[in-house]
Every structure is written in structure tokens, then in C-alpha cells.
Symmetry: C2
Subunit: 592 residues, 2 copies
């Protein structure tokens, strides 16, 4: 059975040496002193290793069951959920007005990584609730907030997002769920929603569904969609629970992974709901949460890779098989450990160098979100909006690949479910799909985000790299290993953007045919930037002679690996992009 | 539920226009007239679509069950197996002396692709039997052949390979299963083997296990391993079945995929066996089958991709979602089909251009094997030995990736088991692991095959490309789109080989750190060669004006895609290889 150790040292390094959070002037960040964050992270790490991780395989094996219309979660989930709630973990970054602890989002993100690494399916119950909380917090009336938020902050009530219908996922403009206005100002919601994560469960006494639906007479397409709050059980004026609403679980889906989370077909039959936000502005209300939700999925991608990697390293250290080509390393044993073999190390370095940079990127993203929310920094908002599809698409793609690599280290044992390595792969697979399939992320990036605000944000991104290169140009430690490859990657990314500008206007297909490669090209470049920043912090610490020198040296070696062996992918992505539309568009639909 | 259509037209193109089999002068190939192969392929396609494919999901869902020590295969498997046997499909390329049909291996390979695409787990029962048949055929005494082969040709008896033990997979030198010689010339076999595919089943009346074991006093390591024939039920002198042997199934493994195939822990307790081949030469006997077995796994990789691709195309044509960026293509419908979107096409082209070239490679590989076996062509044997790790490792890696891409086309529906797309991914995953994990294939390629016979075979491979480029240099249809990229890829591959020669001698880690990239660099180059050959055949046909012009034009467009968008990967692989040992070897084991 896999084990999990929270990477608190690496998180502390990011918070305090790379991002230097307490010095950033963001309201609330002054509380994030190293001792405080250390204590929080260690406590969260403890519950992750001791409570959540042991339930991860249980969740996978047992799955959820639909009994008499009610979802039963796997054995132990309820007790663990109570523990999370009692420990205040569900309320960490929530508004103190509704019982939250008011911590910055970045701290919630760090803690969330641990929860996701140790038990992704379990953590989704709380994650979805948090998403619904955020939507009500941002768009609800005072009445709605008072009614729902205090119970959602504590996860006494759960929350969900109901978007997808059988005939439409990405293309929500086609959705058919109806919302009939009632004389009392409420609406009767009728329709079927599918793929509803955490759609029902036995962990909370109520479930607050957010449902996209169409009010009769609303405009066609996405401009006629509204968002509704539809509780599973009606909530009385005094906050007590009333009668069951017209909400039922039609079916539990059998999925490739995340078995511990109930993916439901939800039937709404004249269910009473109230409008959240403005009529016909439901898509906009959903989109305000999109950056966080997508950042969260990118996090899931690398968090699964982190968990898989930890176990792969452990196995590679212990499993004896073959001899090092340069001479026995364990001459008294029957064979050397796997970790002596160059190709095993190549795979482990791929994993390690990805995960650490991905973590840096997501922490930075959370930092930008805080900057936007708490400082009203529009540039930060623009930048996170630009890189959100990269975080979601690239980190989930690569995170999945890394779980496959970690599984591969185990050889045949990795294919057997009892080692748990298959579960990491199967669970990670969903991150490439939900919250906007990765092809849609690429489309969002190239078709929308690049040109947003006149291309200001992508220009600012390039400026940021340029400034970084300039600031550090005299740093000989960084020059060859970090700055030069970063410069090359950035050049490739700019060349790709230039190609889109020159060709995409006359033929949009010429840009969209390269959108997926662009997302990956951007991803590698941005992880290159993360590595350069981490390398700068590590060299500075080594110069100062403070802290754990071994940690910084390992950090530098891991970064050098990424720059040398992963960053050259930008060349291939650019070459593909520059082939334009023809290779992709030539065949007719029946020639496939 | 997925469907499957046998790609007979593409197979006919390869057999008759690319490989021109009847003109090749290989004994038996004269029978492979187009009408004959067409009839065989269509018949095999029919049984694949109608009998095997409908059982594929059944096998996945039901799996195998161990009841009172006996394995029960999923519902319908027995009837389908009988049908395969009665149709003579298990005997296609077997020796007529033992009841086989004596067809060339290449025909068996084409037919095998269909069986694997439609039901990989099912086909393994027959595949493993065929492997054991080949070993006994190559190394058995007349007595052994007479006793076992006729029943194995018809699959009245099944066969297995017992190599792996709990503590050793790749490193078979450590194996502990004992074989005690008996006065009557037989041996008593005792030990535990794991991961035994098709280890037991209810499809055949007996199972003939081939077991690697150590005779007391044998040298340490792989030089002291012998191979034994150990039937599940003893076979009397007259060929009738006798008493059960000391062979039992200890456990059925729960796996990520191929649930329809029983992966067994096999316990041998004083089981009676006879030596197959020479004492202490068991590894050698196993290795004689290695090329075929590994080619078969490469085939499984792309055959799963083919099946997944077919369903992805179908879904992309039917699922309506979004509008083409260049204007509605289905203006009367609520949305356009997925296939109008550039990124969906990019993914489908990735899949299609991979599968068709992979098929060409495996058919060519089978052709080389026939050339070696039937003509005694040593050059062909050397070449197939060189490219076998590439076929196994590269095609299974990329085949798996393509099943993931096919699943992705389905969005959320791909993650739900009922569409069957997850099964392709889960089944394909094993091909990267078994028959030598892909890291071991890369090691075999770089550490052993490159230098084999003084590097003669890799030189011959480069010569072959050079000759091809020269022969076709005046072909303007091929020049820019096919020959130039192939030349560049071949240059990259040579540069990588040169790097190994210059650095690997003083530091083997410098070569082995790049072995995985080299395997992929080789794979892309060889698929580039396959595409160039197919393009030549297609342009020739278009010039002649014979056949289906649409087929040839599609072929050319698909090839141009691969050359333009996949082949540039060689640059990145070379760049990685040239970073040498340092990035990979720097960290100590505890710094990971």
C-alpha cells in the first residue's frame, strides 16, 4: 500500500524563499510567518498521512453505492470528513463573517495539495463545497449568504456544480434544463444533469446544488443561461431543514478512477431554487470561479504525480534488480537497487523536476489570485487569467504522464491494483478531462486569452522573463544552466505567438491547429521560469550559508535537469506549430 | 459500446503494394496472392467484429474468477474459443507436420492484429499457447513435439510461460524455482511463479507450462537456468491425460486491465517436468522466441490504438458540440460535429498517422522474421534483432498514448466505463510493462543491439535509408514532404549513435542516460521510413491510375502529417541525449 509524506520543506522554501510572502504587502500575508505556516503545513501533513492516505485505496476499492436513492460513501469517509471539519480544515480561507478563518488562498492551496495527494476522491467533497461556497459568496444576496454560507464553511452542508447535460458538456449553450419563475420569486427547476461530482453523499446533512438552467423566453445560447441555488432539502426561513426538494440521484457512474467520489446523474423535477446573481448571467457567475477551479485541477494533476513519485522513489530504493553498469553498488546483496540504473533515474528525475516546478507554478498562481482579490491588482488578475489554461491543461497532462512513469518503475507490480500505483494513474486521468477538457483549455488560451486586453498580459509575461534575465545576467551560477535555456524557450514561445498573429487572422485554423502545442510550449517555458526563480533562491541561500545546504544543492541539480532535458521540447512544439493548418485540416471527415 | 471494423484495405496495401510479398521469393509467400489474403483477412475481420469484439467489454467487467482452484473465464469466452479453434485460426502459421496450416508468419501477424484489436485479453490465451508451441517446436525432442504440438496447434491444450518470481522479474538470474533430477530422466519442479498470463483457464483440457528453474549445482545467475515442460495434467505415453500434476493456481491478480485474461500466481510443488532444450541453456531457449514475442507486444500496442481510434473517429463525427471557427459546418443542426475542430483533428491525425505507420513497421518486422526463418537470411535476422526493442518499446509507449488521446475525444464520457474507451487505455498499459519493461528494451537497444556483430546491423539500417533517399531523389512528390524530413531524422539518429560511441566507452552511464530517448528517436525515424515507403507506393499507384485514388490521397496526407508534426521529435530526443550522464546521475539515492 502506498504511503505519503507531506513535502513541507519544499512548500516552506516556495512560500518564504521564492515568493517571500510576508514581504509582499498583500493583506493577510503578514500572518504567514515561517513558524506559523510550518505549523499549519505539518498539521495538515499529519492528517493527510495518517487519516486521508489510508482511506485512498479503500475509496478506490469500495467506491460509492446508491442505496434507495441515497449515496453511501466508502467505509471511513464519514469519520474522516468529520475530522476535517472539526479541525477547521474546510474553513481555512473562508470569510470570517461566515465562520471562516480568513487565511489567504495561497495557504489553502498548499494545504489542499496535501489533501489531494493523499486522497483526491475524498477531497473533492470538500473541494466542490468550497467552489459552491465561492459562487454564493461572490454572487449571492445577503439573505442567500446568511442562509447557506455558515453551513458550507463548516461543511455541515455540501455543495456541487451542475453544468453538464447528456448532449452538452463544453457547449453549454445547448443546455435544456428549465427554470420556471414562480409568483413567490423562486423558480421550479426541471432537467437532467450528468457527471455531477459529489452529487450526493452521506457526509453532510444537506447538499446545496448550483444548477445552470434556462428561464423560458431567455435568449438562445450561453446568453440565456442563469444560475440557481437548489438545495437537496429545503431550508426554512429560520435555517432549519424542511421538506426534501425535487432532487434525486438517477444513477451513479462507473468510472475509470476517483471511485471514492460519487459521480451522479442528477434529476431535477420541479425542484425549488433561487436565482444566484443576475438572470441570464449564469455563465458569467460560473466564470468568476473558473480561475480557482482550474488552478485546483492543475494542482490535482501534479499532486497525484507527487504521491506516485514518492512511492516510486521508495520502490526504486528498495527493489533489488540487476547491477549498476559501472560496477556493483550493493555488492553484498543479491542485486543492486533499481535506483542505480540510469534509465530509472531518468524517469525519477522527470517526475521530480516536473512536480517541484508545477508546485511553484500553482503557488505563484494562488499568489496572483490573492493579489487580485486582496489588493485589487488588475495586472495580477490579467496574468492569472492568461496562464490559467496552461496551469490546468499542461499540469494535468504532464501530471498524468508522470503517474504513468511512476507506475512503470514498479514493472509488473505496478499493473497490479494492490500496489496502488494504478490508482494514481486512473485518478489523475480525470484531471485532463473535467473543468474543461484540455483541448478546450488550449482553445481558450490561443483563441481568447492571448489577445485579451489587447495582448497586454502575454506581453507582460514576456517582459517579466526579460526583466528576470536582465536582473540575473551577472549570476554565473545561473547563466548557462538556467538563463540561457529560459531565454531560448521564451524565444520559441514568442515565435509561436508571432506565427499565430501572422497567420491566424486570415485563417484561424492555422492558429488553432497549433493550440495544443502552444499550451505545452507555454507550460515548459513557464516551468523553466519557475526553475530559474527557484535556482536563484537556492544559490542565494547557499551564498548566505543559511539553511540546509543539501536541500539547495538538490534543488539546483533538479532544476538543471529540467532545463537540460525537458525545456528542449519547446523546439519541437514550435516546429509543429509552424506547420500551420494544412496537415491538420486536409482530410475530409470520411477520410479519417 | 465500441465497435470494430477490420482495416483490410490498409493491410492489403501493405502486403501487396508496399512489401510486394508475392514477388519477394520467400518460400510460401507465393501463396499470398491478393485474392487469397483478402479472403483470409475478411474472414478474420468478420470473426473479430462479430465474435471477439462483443466479448471485449464482457471480459473487462466480469474478469476471471478462481473457483475451487480452477479459473473460470468470462461468459462466452469458451464458445468463442471453440469457434477460433474450429475455424483453424490457432493453427495458421503452425507446422503442417503437427496439424498447422504452414502459412507465413506475416499472414498470422495481420490476422493477429485484428484479434488483438477486437479483444486483447481473449487473444492472449491463444497467443501464449502459440509462444509455448514455438519454444517446443524449436527446442523439443521428437518425443516432446509429438506429445504436445498437435494438441497445442489446435489449442485443445493451452500453453504458458513461467519466468517471473516475486523477487525477480527483469533480473532472472536470481530465480529460485528448483528442478530436482529424477532417476527416470524427469525433474521435480518446486517454486512459485507470478504474473503468469493465461496461467489457468477453462478453455482447454490441459495447460502446458514452460517453466524456468534451476537444477541443483547449476552455476549462479542466468547461466544456471533451465527450461522445463510441466503439464497441468500429466500426459500418458499414449497421449491420453493422466493424473493432475503438482501445479496449482495460488491466486488471481487484480489488475488495471486485461481482466479477461487470468494472471496467476502459479505454485509448483514437486510437479513433474521434462527438460526442454539443454541443461542450463534455458535463457537461450527463451530468447529464441523473444523477437516474435516482443513484436507481438508492439503489435498489441498499436492494435489497441487502432481500436480506440476507430471509435474516437466515429464519436467525433457524431457528437455535436460547438461551431467551426471558420463558420458553421452543420448549420441546420444545433452544433457542428467535433471533427470540425482543429484540435480534435490534430489528435485524430496523431492517432491515425501513428497506427498506419506502426502497422507497416510490424508487418515489415514479420516479413524480416519470415526472411530469417524461411530463407536463412542472416542480415534480416540481424536487422529484426536490432529493431525488436524499438518495435516493442516505442510502439507500446506511443500506442498507449494514442489510446489516451482517443479516450480524450470523448470528454467526460471517455472516463465512464460504459463507453469502453477506458478499457483500451487500461488494456494497452500492460504492453509497456510485460515482455521486458520498456526501460529494459531501451537498455537492450543501446547496451546490446547497437554494437551487435560489430554494429553491422545499425550500419545496414542507415544504408537502407540512404539508398531509399537516393533511389527516390528525383521524385518531386516525395522530396520535400517525405525525403527531407526522413534525412533529418536519420541524421539525428546517427548523431545520437555517434554521441554514444564517443562518450559511452569512458562512461557507460552517458549512453544509458539517453537510452530511452534513443529508443524513441529510433522509433520516429523508422516510422518516418515507413511513411516514406508508403508514400512512394501511393504516388506510384496514383500515377498508374489504378485502385482507389481516395485511399492513396488520404494515405499521402496522413503521411505528410506524420513527417511534419511527429518527426520533429527527433530534435528534442537528440538534444536530451547529448546532455549525457550528469543530469541523470548527479543526485544520490537519498536526494530524490
Amino acid at each position: 500500500m502506498p504511503s505519503y509524506t507531506a513535502p513541507t520543506q519544499d512548500m516552506q522554501f516556495l512560500l518564504h524563499e521564492v515568493l517571500d510572502v510576508t514581504a509582499s504587502g498583500i493583506p493577510g500575508y503578514d500572518e504567514l510567518e515561517p513558524d506559523f505556516t510550518k505549523a499549519v503545513l505539518e498539521e495538515a501533513g499529519k492528517i493527510s498521512s495518517e487519516v486521508l492516505e489510508p482511506l485512498n485505496m479503500v475509496g478506490d476499492r469500495e467506491g460509492c453505492v446508491l442505496e434507495n436513492g441515497v449515496v453511501r460513501t466508502p467505509k471511513g469517509f464519514k469519520e474522516a470528513f468529520d475530522q476535517m471539519r472539526d479541525g477547521g480544515w474546510t474553513a481555512l480561507d473562508c470569510d470570517p463573517e461566515y465562520g471562516g478563518q480568513g487565511m489567504p488562498y495561497i495557504l489553502n492551496t498548499a494545504v489542499g495539495e496535501m489533501f489531494v495527494s493523499s486522497n483526491m476522491a475524498f477531497n473533492m467533497y470538500q473541494g466542490l463545497t468550497h467552489g459552491a461556497y465561492s459562487a454564493i459568496h461572490a454572487h449571492g444576496t445577503d439573505q442567500q449568504k446568511q442562509t447557506f454560507l455558515p453551513k458550507m464553511v463548516t461543511c455541515e452542508w455540501g455543495g456541487t456544480m451542475n453544468l453538464t447535460e447528456p448532449h452538452c458538456g463544453t457547449d453549454l449553450g445547448m443546455l435544456r434544463t428549465r427554470a420556471e419563475p414562480q409568483p413567490d420569486g423562486t423558480y421550479k427547476i426541471t432537467g437532467t444533469k450528468i457527471f455531477i461530482s459529489a452529487g450526493d453523499q452521506d457526509l453532510t446533512e444537506n447538499v446545496i446544488h448550483l444548477v445552470l438552467a434556462r428561464i423560458p423566453g431567455a435568449p438562445d445560447g450561453t446568453k440565456g443561461i442563469s444560475l440557481f441555488i437548489v438545495p437537496k432539502i429545503a431550508v426554512n426561513e429560520d435555517g432549519t431543514l424542511g421538506e426534501p426538494n425535487g432532487v434525486s440521484v438517477g444513477k451513479l457512474e462507473e468510472k475509470m478512477g476517483i471511485h471514492g467520489n460519487a459521480t451522479c446523474v442528477m434529476n431535477f423535477e420541479n425542484a425549488t431554487g433561487t436565482l444566484l446573481g443576475q438572470e441570464n448571467k449564469g455563465m458569467r457567475a460560473m466564470f468568476t470561479m473558473m480561475n480557482e477551479a482550474r488552478l485546483g485541477v492543475g494542482l490535482q494533476g501534479y499532486a497525484q504525480a507527487e504521491a506516485a513519485y514518492q512511492n516510486a522513489v521508495e520502490y526504486a530504493r528498495e527493489r533489488l534488480q540487476g547491477r549498476a553498469v559501472t560496477g556493483a553498488q550493493n555488492p553484498d546483496g543479491p542485486a543492486d537497487p533499481l535506483i542505480v540504473h540510469p534509465d530509472i533515474r531518468r524517469s525519477l528525475m522527470d517526475q521530480k523536476s516536473f512536480v517541484e516546478a508545477a508546485r511553484a507554478l500553482v503557488f505563484w498562481g494562488a499568489n496572483l489570485i490573492d493579489r487580485g482579490h486582496l489588493l485589487g491588482d488588475k495586472d495580477a488578475e490579467g496574468l492569472i487569467s492568461l496562464i490559467t489554461p496552461v496551469i490546468k491543461g499542461f499540469l494535468s497532462d504532464r501530471g498524468f504522464d508522470m503517474t504513468v512513469q511512476a507506475q512503470q518503475i514498479y514493472g509488473g507490480h505496478g499493473y497490479i491494483e494492490e500496489t496502488g500505483m494504478s490508482q494514481f494513474v486512473r485518478d489523475a486521468r480525470i484531471t485532463m478531462i473535467y473543468e474543461g477538457a484540455n483541448g478546450v483549455q488550449a482553445l481558450d488560451l490561443v483563441g481568447r486569452k492571448l489577445a485579451q486586453d489587447g495582448g497586454r498580459h502575454v506581453m507582460a509575461f514576456f517582459e517579466m522573463i526579460k526583466d528576470f534575465l536582465k536582473e540575473n545576467e551577472t549570476n554565473t551560477e545561473l547563466k548557462e544552466a538556467f538563463l540561457d535555456p529560459l531565454k531560448q524557450a521564451s524565444k520559441d514561445l514568442q515565435a509561436a505567438g508571432m506565427f499565430f498573429m501572422q497567420n491566424g487572422m486570415k485563417n484561424p485554423d492555422a492558429a488553432l491547429a497549433g493550440s495544443y502545442d502552444f499550451m505545452h510550449l507555454f507550460g515548459h517555458t513557464i516551468l523553466g521560469l519557475m526553475w530559474a526563480k527557484m535556482a536563484r533562491a537556492a544559490t542565494a541561500a547557499l551564498e548566505r550559508g543559511t539553511g540546509n545546504a543539501d536541500f539547495y544543492k538538490t534543488k539546483l541539480a533538479t532544476g538543471r535537469y529540467y532545463m537540460a532535458r525537458q525545456l528542449p521540447m519547446t523546439r519541437t512544439h514550435l516546429a509543429r506549430i509552424e506547420t500551420g493548418a494544412d496537415p491538420v485540416m486536409t482530410l475530409s471527415a470520411d477520410q479519417f
